[in-house]
């Protein structure tokens, strides 16, 4: 079985160029994929990785360039042709019909449409065989809508294998997986390579790229800027290529805590559905200090974030902002109290997808001067404001009038960050502010939060990433089942000690007040 990378090229891309308006997403990209090879396509969000693969698979048509698969030219813009040529794609946003079974999702489109009856029995046997061969455990009769994220991905891979794909494209396959599931995925991919499949693996996670690939291609701003055999390169070099400059880890200087800007005393909220409510929680947010909230997902973080953002009200307890008890607490009141919000889900609650950047940029202040005057919009002011955010926060986009859904996650987050920070908030609520972002964007967002702290804002950083909390937070609380641990100053607790609190131990003593 030929697996050495020197083998014949199964896929050739030549000068692939794609423009979206003024934005060049892919600029004359050329490379070969060899039999039995795993190429990692590395790059920041918005570097053009997904666009390139969508062109290869026929979702988009390139403005210029040619694709050859196994020596034959691939007609552009035709997923069927790509499938028939042996290209299989595992999309980042899974393409399963939730109302159908796993089996039906896999055989969809593989049989002539006008056949009377489907060959489900034979298909089932084949799927079960493939599941065993590649270690892709999934029940063929399960409804796709009832599957976990990991299982959905396995179905996507099975779809490709069922069609005898020889080239497998995986678009950010690990973004949604737990570390254990990622290991399983890599085991599957190694089995596929051993059978002579060739793989293109899109990622922006360095350690995964180093673990799975034989060759790395780096994309930046739509251009292929580097190529290296994985064995000959390292994290540092790749990171440099990806971002185009040295990456500087955020430097957190000493904090100068000031007055308490927000005070919660014995605050409880009602649980909504299965979500956890707050249980007699006390917390102080001080000016000039980053307060980190660590905890396992679903332990009341959402309840606390909703409360601070004005989306819920406390059932009991004292809730003071700037030394005064809050009156009617609404999102509008939270904004008026100068609370800047970076919501957890930037697609659903952070932005309105089909609105433009400009509209999104003034969502929290559209009715105020200078954006509105006597009830009339001043689009010039809105436009000026948006351009300023784009400029200052390095939002890469076609322009202020583009719909925000066209932006990558990192650029969307920068706009949200700009929207929040330009209002000069006194309290900043940052919920998972860097989740799903690439290195460059992560560093950027974190540095801005530190700057805001140094300028005197009280920052509440809610994150499930303990490393992030340990790096940024001046004081750390752990939340578990709606209860809050005492405040731990920076450097006084090890990750293992915090882990004990995260597992829910240590709360039994009644002394859970913040210092």
């Amino acid at each position: 079985m030929p697996t050495d990378p020197g083998a014949r090229a199964v896929l050739r891309l030549r000068n692939i160029t794609k423009r979206f308006g003024p934005l060049t997403a892919n600029d004359a990209i050329t490379f070969d994929l060899h039999e039995g090879e795993v190429i990692a396509l590395l790059g920041e969000n918005g570097a053009g990785k997904t666009t390139l693969m969508n062109i290869l698979f026929g979702h988009y048509t390139a403005d210029a360039g040619d694709i050859e698969v196994f020596g034959h030219a691939l007609p552009p813009g035709n997923p069927r042709a790509a499938l028939e040529a042996g290209v299989g794609m595992v999309h980042q946003h899974f393409t399963l019909a939730d109302n159908l079974s796993v089996l039906d999702n896999i055989i969809l489109g593989t049989e002539p449409l006008w056949r009377l009856g489907t060959g489900r029995a034979a298909a089932r046997a084949r799927i079960e065989q493939l599941s065993r061969d590649f270690g892709l455990a999934v029940h063929p009769d399960a409804r796709a809508g009832a599957l976990s994220v990991g299982e959905r991905q396995r179905v996507e891979i099975l779809k490709a294998l069922y069609r005898d794909a020889r080239i497998l494209i995986l678009d950010e396959p690990t973004a949604v997986l737990t570390p254990q599931e990622t290991d399983d995925l890599f085991a599957t991919l190694r089995k596929a390579v051993a059978r002579g499949l060739s793989i293109i693996f899109i990622s922006h996670k360095m350690h995964e790229v180093l673990a799975i690939s034989s060759r790395v291609l780096v994309l930046r701003h739509g251009k292929l800027v580097g190529e290296a055999a994985t064995a000959d390169t390292d994290r540092h070099q790749l990171a440099h290529l990806m971002v185009g400059s040295e990456i500087v880890a955020p430097e957190v200087g000493g904090a100068a805590p000031g007055a308490v800007l927000m005070r919660l005393r014995e605050v409880s909220t009602t649980p909504v559905g299965n979500a956890v409510g707050l249980r007699s929680l006390s917390l102080d947010l001080r000016a000039g200090q980053i307060t980190g909230l660590a905890g396992v997902s679903g332990n009341g973080q959402a309840a606390l974030a909703d409360l601070i953002a004005g989306e819920t009200v406390p059932d009991s307890g004292v809730f003071e902002v700037a030394g005064e008890g809050v009156g009617a607490w609404t999102p509008r009141a939270a904004l008026d109290a100068r609370i800047g919000r970076i919501p957890e889900d930037r697609h659903r609650t952070g932005t309105i997808s089909d609105f433009t950047l400009s509209e999104n940029a003034v969502l929290e202040a559209y009715e105020k001067e200078p954006f509105s005057r006597r009830g009339w919009f001043d689009w010039t002011a809105v436009d000026r404001h948006t351009r300023a955010i784009i400029e200052r926060y390095d939002v890469r986009c076609p322009g202020p009038d583009a719909r925000i859904r066209l932006l990558s996650g990192g650029n969307m987050q920068k706009l949200i960050l700009g929207r929040a920070l330009e209002a000069e908030p006194k309290i900043i609520l940052a919920v998972q502010p860097v989740r799903g972002l690439d290195i460059g964007a992560v560093t950027y967002v974190q540095n801005r939060l530190i700057e805001a702290r140094d300028a005197g804002a009280a920052v509440l950083l809610i994150s499930e990433d303990l490393d992030e909390i340990l790096t940024l937070a001046d004081v750390i609380h752990v939340i578990s089942e709606g209860r809050l641990s005492p405040a731990f100053a920076r450097g006084t607790k090890t990750p293992a000690e915090l882990g004990v609190w995260m597992a829910g131990q240590g709360f039994d003593g009644e002394d859970s007040h913040a210092a």
Binding site: R80, L96, A97, L100, G109, R115, L116, T118, K159
Partner: protein
């Protein structure tokens, strides 16, 4: 009790099945469209077109079955217009559908006036006759209700079975169910979202045309403008009632028709003397709304219904 007397009369059940027949055709048509992700509000107008086209063809000397074919073709033509506007152009399905209904109704009016300028009373045609099926039609009540109907009624039941078979037992049906749930799944498997959706709308509209034709060719034997009278809108509700499943939709049509047949009979009882007839007319609709609320609670709506698909969009 008068209601009980009605319930055990064979003529009541026969009427229910007869009233249900056009609803079955049109509901199945709408169901096919919606399963593919397109809400077809052109249904009301397309039924008017079908009613007129079938009747006109037969009046002009065509065979009855040819008339049914003409009605279907007319329905498909308006369906094609709907499909072009709503699928490749991705326009709002509400606007397109209502527009088609207005256009289809007005075109029919126009065609009627052009074809029959001097007529005050619409001419009658020699319509489909009852065709009792030997042996089966002799079964008490059931026989008269189900097996002594016109061929078009039999066709309605056969169509329901065929639609169910195609949807659940063939690759084509699988693709239609997938395209209404997540068009990206279809695109990623190398099928054409556009072709599947347009095909579903055209075929579904054809069935709506036949549903309309039933009124002129198997029920009233003549054509009036008000004859469709909101039946199309009822079918939209029946699709929801049937949870987008052909079998349940068929039952829903029968249930509605039974209410309708019931109220007609109740009007002629002693109750009818005391209560204004409008109350009776309201009854099937009220009961349908009630049934709809109860039945559609857990119904699974095709997830991509009314969402236009643009290639290459995230």
């Amino acid at each position: 009790m008068e209601i009980l007397d009605i319930l055990i009369s064979a003529s009541f059940w026969a009427a229910a099945v007869r009233i249900a027949s056009p609803l079955i055709f049109a509901t199945l048509g709408e169901l096919i469209c919606e399963r593919a992700g397109v809400l077809n509000l052109g249904i009301e107008g397309i039924m008017v077109v079908g009613a007129f086209a079938g009747w006109m063809a037969v009046y002009s000397g065509a065979d009855l079955w040819v008339g049914v074919g003409v009605a279907m073709a007319a329905g498909m033509l308006f369906g094609l217009l709907h499909a072009i506007l709503s699928v490749p152009f991705g326009l709002s399905q509400h606007v397109v559908g209502l527009g088609i209904t207005l256009l289809a109704t007005a075109s029919t009016y126009f065609a009627y006036r052009v074809a029959l300028p001097q007529v005050t009373n619409p001419p009658r045609i020699e319509a489909f006759k009852e065709l009792p099926i030997p042996v089966l039609s002799d079964i008490p009540i059931v026989g008269q209700a189900l097996f002594a109907q016109t061929p078009l009624t039999y066709l309605a039941f056969v169509t329901a079975a065929v639609v169910a078979f195609v949807l659940y037992r063939t690759p084509l049906g699988l693709a239609v169910r997938a395209v209404g749930e997540n068009p990206h799944s279809v695109e990623a498997q190398g099928l054409s979202v556009t072709a599947l959706r347009m095909g579903a709308v055209v075929v579904g509209s054809g069935l709506m045309g036949v549903g309309g034709a039933f009124l002129t060719m198997s029920a009233f034997n003549s054509f009036f403008f008000e004859m469709v009278n909101g039946r199309g809108w009822i079918c939209i509700a029946l699709v929801v009632f049937g949870a987008w499943k052909p079998g349940k939709a068929l039952l829903g049509a029968l249930l509605f028709a039974a209410f309708d047949a019931m109220q007609i009979r109740l009007q002629q009882t002693s109750l009818g003397a005391d209560i204004p007839y409008q109350i009776f007319l309201m009854m099937p609709y009220l009961l349908s709304i009630l049934a709809l609320v109860v039945m559609s609670r857990r119904a699974e709506v095709p997830a991509a219904l009314m969402v236009p698909f643009n290639r290459g969009e995230r």
